[in-house]
């Protein structure tokens, strides 16, 4: 495993960049635990002060230090994305494996369900949901709801991988030698399925964060907890751009970009490493 990371680091510029960005993200998340300011309070420091050595990202119109507030925002946004990814992984794996292994009508039914979900335009539906649930909305619920909509694409990928694996010779060998189906899945097939799961996880986190930002800006999530989206919401509410408090908008924007790019670069570099066809292509030089 470490060899993989070392190889990637040495030879893939994207991975290095991703490592840089994600380290910044991790640092911010860790810093949130030692923040000198409580994000839930207002008017802790002087308002609307531009960036200075004391307040690296300045302060906002609610009297919070933007930098330290953003550490919490980074933490919440990221963790919400992780929750979404985790839950939707479970659903995707279950669906994908069942459809792939059972085949027949179960497969067709599940695929029909999957295709339905893929087509549905999510934003209007999520807005509807957010609107109705805004009183009880919080990060966990949002993550959970997003997970309910985020699994179809990945389930499909897992299913096609399973279909390929079923026909492979080593599967038949295992079956003939008497290995139970459960162990075949775990021991023989999972090593093939895991790379897909890994790649789609990162993708999912990205996707979830995107939606969180959008929904929060519309005011449809838990506005009391700091997140990248709610930062922009409050900034908009206080007319930050017009009032000239540009740093309040710049900080979450920057945070979003760093997080998104970091995750994405990680995704592509790992993907290229794993996928044998890409490796073949890169060999040509």
């Amino acid at each position: 495993m470490f060899k993989v990371i070392r190889d990637l680091f040495r030879y893939d510029g994207r991975f290095r960049l991703a490592a840089f960005f994600l380290t910044a993200v991790t640092v911010m998340i860790i810093l949130s635990y030692v923040s000198p300011y409580d994000p839930d309070k207002s008017f802790v420091v002087a308002m609307d002060m531009p960036p200075s050595p004391e307040h690296i990202f300045g302060t906002d119109s609610r009297g919070q230090d933007v930098f330290w507030w953003m550490t919490f925002a980074m933490r919440n946004s990221f963790f919400m994305g992780v929750i979404t990814a985790a839950v939707s992984r479970v659903i995707a794996i279950l669906m994908g494996l069942s459809a792939g292994y059972r085949g027949g009508w179960l497969d067709r039914f599940l695929m029909s369900v999957t295709d339905t979900f893929v087509v549905l335009p999510l934003l209007p539906i999520l807005i509807l949901l957010g609107f109705l649930l805004r009183d009880i909305m919080n990060q966990f619920l949002l993550g959970f709801i997003l997970a309910l909509f985020g699994w179809p694409y990945d389930a499909r990928l897992i299913r096609s991988q399973v279909l390929t694996l079923r026909e492979r010779a080593f599967t038949r060998t295992a079956v003939y030698s008497g290995t139970g189906p459960f162990w075949i899945t775990i021991r023989e097939h999972l090593p093939f399925v895991m790379p897909i799961v890994l790649a789609t996880t990162i993708n999912n986190i990205l996707w979830a964060i995107g939606f969180e930002v959008t929904l929060s800006i519309l005011g449809l999530s838990d506005l009391t907890r700091p997140s990248i989206g709610t930062a922009l919401y409050w900034a908009n509410q206080h007319g930050a751009l017009v009032a000239g408090v540009w740093w309040w908008i710049a900080a979450p924007t920057l945070a979003a970009i760093v997080l998104a790019l970091g995750l994405y670069l990680l995704l592509t570099s790992v993907n290229d490493y794993i996928d044998p066809r890409t490796r073949l292509r890169l060999i040509g030089g």
């Binding site: 209007p124 995107g210 970009i257």
Partner: protein, 336 residues
């Protein structure tokens, strides 16, 4: 021909109906599961505005609202009434702009959203695929590498963030483009060239954002597809036979590569639609996205509902159309 209809058209049509059915049923169920009672919320909001009404009036208002929201009768009755109204094209009145019907307001906003959506999608799809294929065919080209890096950098950024950046930079600090709206206040939409120019100015940034984000996706997909196609037998054969590069690129590589991308285009409609809505919100473009924003602020429940329904039907229909067009391009599906 009959086999084609049975094997290809019918399943897709059934899927289409399923999607619409499921989507709309979900839209029906969700509000009824929520802890918020829209009628009570509406009533309390009206009372909070300070108007003192006698209990009788409140009661009748409550009854009227319940009827309006389609909440009268048993759930099953509601469901059928719901479908009945839907099939008549009645999405109820907008509560923010009472009594203008929701369908009318959506109808007014639709052309803006559609024009934005179609233009941006087509541009990003065509150029993304073109450059992706080229970058795979000419891997050493520096210019294409730069394009690739730009496309890849922009791609993961959430729609809102990119829109915000573009807005701030190009409308605020370097005021090339107007700040919001599709046309300045006081000007009426018309089919004149003047208006068209104003429209283009206003729609450029939202469209550009959509294009930028979409471009990267198509680019990378096509690049990977093309590199697989290049090693396919029929391309190697064409090269061995001495065909000109341009001919190979056009008729052999692109024609085959665009097929899966067509399917991908259909699948991406839902996402692009969501993106377009966000664009409109940021840039104040008077399409469905702005309608949504206003509806959220004004607690216009029936508007949000209507938009959700409309979106589901719209996207599903667009997908069906794409499915119907696909066989025109792929003879393997046409003749089985």
């Amino acid at each position: 021909m009959r086999r084609f209809i049975l094997n290809y058209l019918l399943p897709r049509f059934v899927q289409y109906l399923t999607v619409i059915f499921v989507g709309i049923t979900v839209t029906f169920i969700i509000p009824r599961l929520s802890p918020t009672d829209p009628v009570a919320a509406q009533v309390s909001m009206m009372l909070a505005r300070g108007s003192a009404l006698d209990p009788q009036a409140v009661q009748s208002m409550r009854a009227a609202l319940t009827d309006l929201y389609g909440l009268s009768g048993s759930p099953l009755q509601q469901y059928f009434a719901f479908w009945g109204r839907l099939l008549r094209g009645d999405l109820g009145p907008s509560l923010g702009n009472f009594p203008t019907p929701v369908s009318q307001m959506i109808g007014q906003a639709m052309p803006y959203t559609l024009s934005l959506l179609i233009t941006a999608t087509l541009v990003s799809w065509i150029f993304g695929n073109l450059f992706g294929a080229l970058s795979s065919y000419y891997p050493k080209n520096k210019g294409l590498k730069v394009v690739e890096i730009l496309g890849q950098t922009v791609r993961p950024i959430p729609y809102y963030i990119l829109a915000l950046v573009l807005l701030v930079v190009f409308a605020f600090y370097i005021p090339i483009f107007p700040f919001s709206g599709a046309y300045p206040i006081g000007i009426h939409p018309s089919l004149s060239l003047d208006f068209a120019w104003i429209y283009v100015q206003h729609s450029f940034l939202p469209a550009a954002t959509l294009v930028l984000i979409g471009f990267g996706g198509w680019f990378i997909g096509m690049k990977s597809l093309t590199s697989n196609i290049i090693s396919e037998d029929y391309v190697v054969y064409a090269e061995t036979a001495g065909l000109k590069e341009r001919k190979i690129l056009g008729n052999y590589v692109m024609r085959n590569g665009l097929l899966p991308q067509l399917t991908g285009l259909a699948m991406s409609l839902g996402t692009v639609f969501s993106g377009a809505l966000i664009m409109e919100i940021v840039f104040g473009f008077p399409g469905i996205g702005s309608l949504t924003l206003v509806a959220v602020y004004r607690n216009d429940y029936s508007m949000i509902m209507g938009i959700a329904i409309y979106s589901i039907i719209g996207v599903a229909t667009a997908m069906l159309i794409m499915d119907l067009i696909y066989p025109l391009f792929d003879p393997r599906v046409r003749y089985q």
